[in-house]
């Protein structure tokens, strides 16, 4: 199949005009006449020479005219190499769709210019080299569509914001726009190509054969460097210690000041220096005013190309509480919820209680702790706990029911956590929990009297996991283990609901027991409270709870209200106050997404079959690509050839006229 195509194929119809010189040539071609003559003695010398010369001249003239016409038509039709899909950039029918990476990493400065401004300049460069009839469109996040560049306010064109790049929406808009037909679409991605954007494109390029060419313009610096802060925490009350991690990548950090502020007030300072690719922890003494836990910021005073991550936010003694989800039939889940609600302090947020058929994946995802109590039939959502389906690592407390109706679900869970041989046993005499060393961190200050009242009559005997507490016959009452997905399971031997299998709900053992189990499991998982990243949406903790909360900025001004939205996000880093209705308010520090500070650039990986359709360039190479069109030399040569053919035509025509004049002269002389 030919790789040559034409920008204006309709002009090729004009090739029919090639028939004209051929017809003229045939019509006016002098046929050889036969002549019987008296003697050819004087004609022999003239036999071959002249006729050959004349035929040659006429043939050359015909070929020259045909070549001339064909070349003119081809130049109008503008041939291009179809095998290079990027030839579409020079087509008058080109539609160039530009996406400027809106993520905050584009604020990285190269020679003082942020990458997003360089991206904007690239769009201007592309626009200046397009054919007059071609068009350039830029993706607008607000409209979720590609619009003409002039339709986006100049100050907003390419301006970054916190949050992930929604490449799904971008590609969807591109496909919708490019399906217009009759045009030659080209997608231009102007980005620093950090993860996860690079990873997303890897998947995209590997998934399907692309229909349109994609030009990836890598704007990031080849050897980026940066200083940054992260993980700011404050320990203590009034005379506290603020700690923050300072990192240097690409260059060593000379001695630089780190300042702690509470609002506008400077509360402490320290000094940081570290070698290249090193992270150091700087601790500073800070003084907070009495009252509610302080919220402030830590700032690194150093010049670097990416200052956005030189500030971190903290809230002392975060009173957010852990989200807990209790899933089970009402009578089974109520005791657990009540127990968690009764735990003193704000370690656990008020638990969300759901029936098995009503729990959503989002609720599972946003909870730190999931308690499964009294589940007869697992739903597809609950199955996701046993399967790898994108859930973050959880703490799952499993309370098995001794009712045979629940046997199916029990066996699934037991099998998942490796307890295939769990036996359901009935004690001949009531069993009671035996506390281990109460000096241990888990059981410190556990009320001892509670244990004697607790009685277990029916239980599962398991032989897998690490025992947290045993019954007096040595059988573990609770074991912990971690499954293949990273979930920490706390598996009870007896139900936590009101049941004939035990009387735990009726004793003082119940509440502290549940609290300690969950705390230990959370600590075992080692997870810190989930951090809010600017621009990154999370599940609305008040979604579906019929509660709502007002979100206030650090200065007390109203920002938003969380009620019915499934997901919520903070637009920029800072300290915010969350005011749930009917509950105490709490502060939330929102920091820059660490994915944006990684400054790890890489070109997307393109599989072999898509290589012709994807080109990765830097700005310099883009300029060359736009200004030195492939085939431009051939085009110039074509014009030169056109001129040469015109000269040749005139020369051949003149040759013929010269011969005629010569003959006329000779005839006249005779």
């Amino acid at each position: 199949m030919s790789t040559i195509a034409f920008f204006h194929p309709l002009y090729l119809w004009a090739l029919g005009a090639l028939a004209v010189p051929i017809v003229i040539h045939l019509l006016f071609r002098r046929r050889t006449q036969a002549l019987d003559f008296s003697s050819v003695r004087f004609l022999r010398s003239a036999a071959v020479k002249a006729s050959r010369r004349r035929r040659l001249r006429q043939l050359l003239l015909l070929l020259t005219r045909l070549a001339l016409l064909a070349l003119i038509v081809l130049l109008f039709a503008q041939p291009f190499d179809r095998s290079d899909p990027f030839q579409a950039l020079w087509s008058p029918q080109a539609r160039v769709y530009c996406w400027i990476d809106p993520t905050v990493s584009m604020e990285y400065r190269v020679s003082g210019t942020p990458l997003w401004r360089r991206a904007r300049a690239q769009t201007e460069l592309i626009d200046s080299t397009l054919a007059p009839a071609a068009r350039l469109l830029v993706y607008s996040g607000e409209q979720a569509a590609f619009v003409p560049r002039e339709d986006i306010p100049a100050d907003k064109l390419g301006a970054p914001r916190h949050g992930p790049a929604d490449l799904d929406a971008v590609l969807g808009a591109f496909r919708a726009a490019a399906d217009g037909g009759g045009r030659m679409p080209v997608l231009v991605l102007l980005s620093d190509f950090q993860e996860p954007a690079a990873g997303y494109l890897d998947t995209l390029f590997a998934a399907d054969t692309l229909d349109s060419p994609v030009l990836c313009v890598m704007l990031g610096e080849k050897e980026p460097w940066n200083y940054g802060l992260g993980g700011a925490v404050v320990r203590g009350d009034r005379n506290a210690v603020a700690a923050v991690n300072v990192r240097a990548s690409g260059r060593a950090l000379d001695t630089s000041e780190v300042v702690v502020r509470l609002g506008t007030m400077r509360a402490g300072h320290g000094v940081a220096s570290c070698a290249e690719a090193e992270t150091v922890t700087v601790e500073m003494e800070v003084s907070f005013p009495p009252g509610e836990p302080a919220a402030g910021s830590v700032r690194l005073r150093a010049d670097d190309p990416f200052p956005a991550d030189n500030i971190d936010y903290f809230v002392g003694d975060r009173a957010e509480g852990r989200p807990v989800l209790v899933v089970g039939e009402s009578e089974a889940s109520y005791p657990v919820s009540a127990a968690l609600a009764a735990v003193r302090g704000r370690r656990w947020r008020e638990p969300v209680t759901r029936r098995p058929d009503r729990v959503t994946f989002g609720e599972l995802d946003s909870a730190d702790v999931v308690v499964l109590s009294g589940i007869r039939e697992p739903t597809r959502t609950l199955q996701s706990l046993l399967e790898s389906s994108g859930l973050g690592e959880k703490v799952i407390v499993f309370s098995p029911s001794t009712d045979s109706v629940f046997a199916g679900w029990n066996n699934q869970v037991f099998a998942h956590v490796g307890m295939d041989k769990a036996e359901l046993l009935r004690a001949q005499r009531p069993l009671f929990p035996v506390l281990p060393d109460t000096l241990s961190r888990l059981w410190r200050r556990f009320p001892r009297t509670a244990e004697r009242n607790a009685a277990v009559y029916t239980y599962y005997r398991t032989r897998t996991g690490s025992a947290l507490l045993r019954l007096n016959n040595g059988v573990p009452l609770a074991v912990t283990l971690t499954d293949k997905h990273g979930h920490v399971w706390v598996v009870l031997a007896t139900p936590l609901e009101i049941s004939r299998a035990n009387n735990l709900c009726e004793t003082g053992f119940y509440v502290p027991f549940i609290d300690r189990l969950l705390r230990y499991a959370v600590e075992l998982r080692g997870a810190a409270p989930e951090t809010w990243y600017a621009g990154v949406p999370r599940h609305n903790p008040y979604y579906g709870s019929r509660k709502r909360a007002r979100i206030l900025r650090a200065d007390g001004s109203f920002l938003a209200q969380w009620d019915m939205q499934r997901t919520v996000a903070f637009d920029r880093p800072g300290n915010y106050r969350v005011q749930p209705v009917g509950e105490p308010s709490y502060r939330v520090p929102v920091v820059i997404d660490p994915a944006e500070t990684a400054l790890s650039y890489r070109a997307p990986t393109v599989p072999e079959w898509n290589r012709p359709m994807v080109k990765t360039v830097d700005p310099a190479r883009l300029r060359d690509l736009l200004h030195h069109r492939r085939g431009a030399l051939a085009l110039s040569l074509a014009w030169i050839a056109l001129g040469a053919l015109v000269v040749l035509e005139m020369a051949l025509w003149g040759w013929g006229r010269g011969e005629k004049a010569e003959r006329r002269t000779q005839n006249d002389e005779r």
């Binding site: 002098r30 046929r31 050889t32 006449q33 036969a34 002549l35 019987d36 003559f37 008296s38 003697s39 050819v40 003695r41 004087f42 004609l43 022999r44 010398s45 003239a46 036999a47 071959v48 020479k49 002249a50 006729s51 010369r53 004349r54 035929r55 011969e659 003959r663 000779q666 005839n667 005779r670």
Partner: protein, 302 residues
């Protein structure tokens, strides 16, 4: 030539004569046309014994009118004498295949030549000259020995009628053969296109002169052979050899004109050197022109 002669000469053009198939009739018309255009009769006789009177014909010379008879009878009559001629004229006609050529609309060279020969014979025999005919191509063909009787004309015309051009030209060799048979002084009229080697032709002519012949060469050429004005590519076939050449019209014309000019120059120079009259006659020219030249020569010589 007088105006009436010019007008008469117009009727002696080949295109007017060509439709007449009978050679005898053609010759008669030509001759009478010629006479009508002349002030004096082409016939020229010597003084001899009185033979008879005959009526005077308009256009004849008044020298032969018997005025005494006129005075007596009021009738204009002419004295006829029994001429005694001493002219032996031999007409040699080229009948090679090349003589078959003729441009469209014109007589072929052979047709023109034999009409000319017939007219000559008519005139010469009427004035009591002995006329003979020899036709030749690459060799001597039919031959009619010179005689001055009335039957001789019929024989000559009949021979001319029968003859058709064919074969190649070996003009020189044929002339030599004829020359070898000549015993008496006389006039040799050679009608040909002379498409032979110049040296051979000249040699033959020289032989005739050697045999005390007054030679007149009538070089018959078609206008195309003289000018060769043709355009475009041509495939030319030689009528004698059948050889074909493909040429370009303009270039071929140039070469042909150069060739024929050189050929003519050579033969004409040789004729001048040997006191041979060489006249180029085009087949588009009136017969009178050639005839008058011949008759003029006849008059000068005898």
């Amino acid at each position: 030539m007088s105006a009436s002669a010019k007008g008469t000469a117009g009727f002696l053009r080949p295109e007017h004569v060509a439709p007449i198939r009978s050679l005898s009739l053609r010759a008669k018309l030509i001759v009478e046309g010629l006479i009508a255009g002349q002030h004096r009769s082409p016939y020229h006789g010597f003084s001899a014994e009185f033979l008879e009177y005959r009526p005077y014909r308009t256009g004849e010379s008044t020298r032969m009118i018997d005025w005494r008879k006129y005075a007596k009878t009021d009738k204009t009559v002419v004295r006829l004498f029994e001429d005694e001629t001493n002219l032996y004229a031999r007409i040699m006609l080229d009948k090679s295949a090349s003589m078959r050529f003729g441009s469209p609309g014109l007589m072929s060279k052979f047709d023109y030549a034999r009409t000319l020969a017939a007219s000559l014979a008519w005139i010469l025999i009427r004035q009591r000259d002995a006329v003979g005919l020899t036709v030749f191509d690459e060799r001597v063909g039919e031959s009619v020995p010179p005689r001055s009787t009335n039957i001789q004309l019929k024989a000559v015309l009949s021979c001319l009628d029968r003859t058709e051009p064919s074969a190649a030209t070996l003009c020189g060799e044929a002339i030599h053969q004829v020359a070898r048979t000549i015993r008496k002084r006389g006039l040799s009229i050679l009608i040909s296109d002379f498409f032979d080697e110049p040296a051979s032709v000249i040699s033959g002519l020289h032989h005739l002169r050697y045999k005390q012949q007054d030679v007149m060469a009538l070089w018959v050429l078609d206008p195309l052979e003289r000018r060769f004005a043709r355009q475009g590519p041509l495939k030319v076939r030689d009528l004698e050899s059948g050889e074909e050449v493909v040429v370009d019209g303009e270039t071929a014309g140039r070469y042909h004109r150069q060739g024929i000019a050189g050929h003519r120059e050579e033969i004409e120079r040789a004729c001048r050197e040997r006191a041979i009259d060489c006249e180029v006659v085009g087949t588009d020219e009136p017969f009178a022109k050639a005839l008058l030249r011949i008759l003029e020569k006849r008059r000068r010589l005898f």
